[in-house]
């Protein structure tokens, strides 16, 4: 894994026209603001859908509530775009950052979990009769979704406090320091 990380950082550093743009005066703060606005859109839309599955606002048809999900995906798209701009500008600050590793892990869990929802519960929940109460499995998925997204936010906010320093001493499975 170490070699792959080092290769990735070098590859990004070699060809990153995004970095030139991001190093202009206000580009980074503007991208950060968009990243936070996207976060609100994602948490608002996906979070309220999860809460509905868990039993809040039970009289609302789940299918009607699901109309919000595309806007949550829009928020996610804003955040993938702005997030990639950070990554493509300062790759070593993310690729070697343990908080980033956990953030990517939580993102992966959120993604697989969303996939599981559409594979296992989508049809039941959207059935002919507008179900008032989601099945147990869908509730577990909703709870996992909320937990995963909260973890993504926490890890994202913690990035600054786990900035990788120079490598000294023992190394783990993943590099969490900048190699010389």
């Amino acid at each position: 894994m170490h070699a792959a990380q080092i290769w990735l950082v070098r590859a990004i550093e070699l060809h990153s026209p995004v970095a030139t743009l991001m190093r202009t005066h206000w580009a980074w703060p503007i991208a950060e603001s968009l990243h936070f606005i996207g976060l609100c859109l994602l948490v608002g839309c996906i979070g309220s859908f999860d809460l509905r599955l868990l039993g809040v606002a039970r009289r609302v048809p789940i299918a009607a509530m699901h109309r919000l999900v595309p806007f949550g995906i829009l928020g996610f798209a804003i955040n993938v775009s702005s997030g990639l701009m950070f990554l493509l500008t300062e790759p070593d600050q993310y690729i070697y950052n343990p908080s980033f590793h956990f953030k990517v892990l939580a993102l992966g869990i959120a993604g697989v979990n969303a996939g599981l929802f559409y594979l296992t519960s989508y049809r039941q929940v959207f059935g002919a009769s507008p179900s008032l109460d989601a099945p147990r499995r869908a509730k577990v998925i909703a709870l996992l979704s909320l937990t995963a997204w909260m973890t993504v936010i926490i890890c994202g906010r913690m990035l600054t406090f786990y900035r990788p320093g120079d490598c000294v001493g023992e190394l783990g499975l993943l590099l969490t320091c900048t190699p010389k």
Binding site: P29, E32, S33, F36, I37, L39, C40, L41, L42, V43, G44, C45, G47, S48, L51, V56, A57, R59, V60, P61, A63, A64, M65, R67, L68, F71, M150, I153, I154, G156, R157, M158, T160, F161
Partner: protein, 165 residues
């Protein structure tokens, strides 16, 4: 009259020193993380209500959105508390920066708009065309205020003149 003696005193309190100086992850980093989560809940759910008013997810009865109100207020109070803690940590940084007051103003306006929208929905006055129009205006203004508040908050890290008294 200068505010400086107050800032010096506040920065010397044990709570301020803990927020800024403690190596614990529960101190400054934890408070920041809670502030981001509260933002997502408050601004996020307010945005969802605004989107619904503007025509998204029409199948959801507006009145039923009131069920999410406690979560929105929970996010708001989480951020009021975490925000005050951050302010106690770095009072000079915030209070000497005009952008901080702009952020507070935008949040205040956004919350007043939320309460007004909620009242229109609760009293059932939202059904006439004139009321629906004014509801849409309130929703658009709310989205603008929240976006502005979030941007102003983010810019606090870049626009301050003094870090400590």
């Amino acid at each position: 009259m200068s505010i400086d003696p107050f800032l010096v005193w506040l920065e010397s309190t044990p709570l301020s020193e803990w927020v800024v100086g403690s190596p614990s992850l529960l101190a400054f980093p934890g408070i920041l993380a809670l502030h981001a989560i509260g933002m997502g809940l408050a601004a996020g759910l307010a945005a969802v209500l605004d989107l619904r008013i503007l025509g998204v997810a029409r199948g959801v009865p507006l009145i039923e959105f009131r069920r999410f109100r406690p979560v929105l207020w929970g996010g708001f109070w989480l951020n009021a508390v975490s925000g005050v803690l951050l302010l106690i940590g770095y009072p000079t940084k915030a209070l000497t920066n005009p952008v901080f007051y702009l952020k507070l103003l935008l949040i205040a306006v956004a919350m007043v708009l939320f309460v007004r929208i909620d009242r229109l929905i609760r009293t059932g006055d939202a059904s006439t065309p004139a009321a629906a129009r004014s509801l849409r205006r309130l929703a658009i203004t709310s989205l603008v205020c929240w976006s502005g508040a979030i941007t102003a908050g983010r810019l606090l890290a870049y626009t301050y003149h003094r870090l400590r008294a």
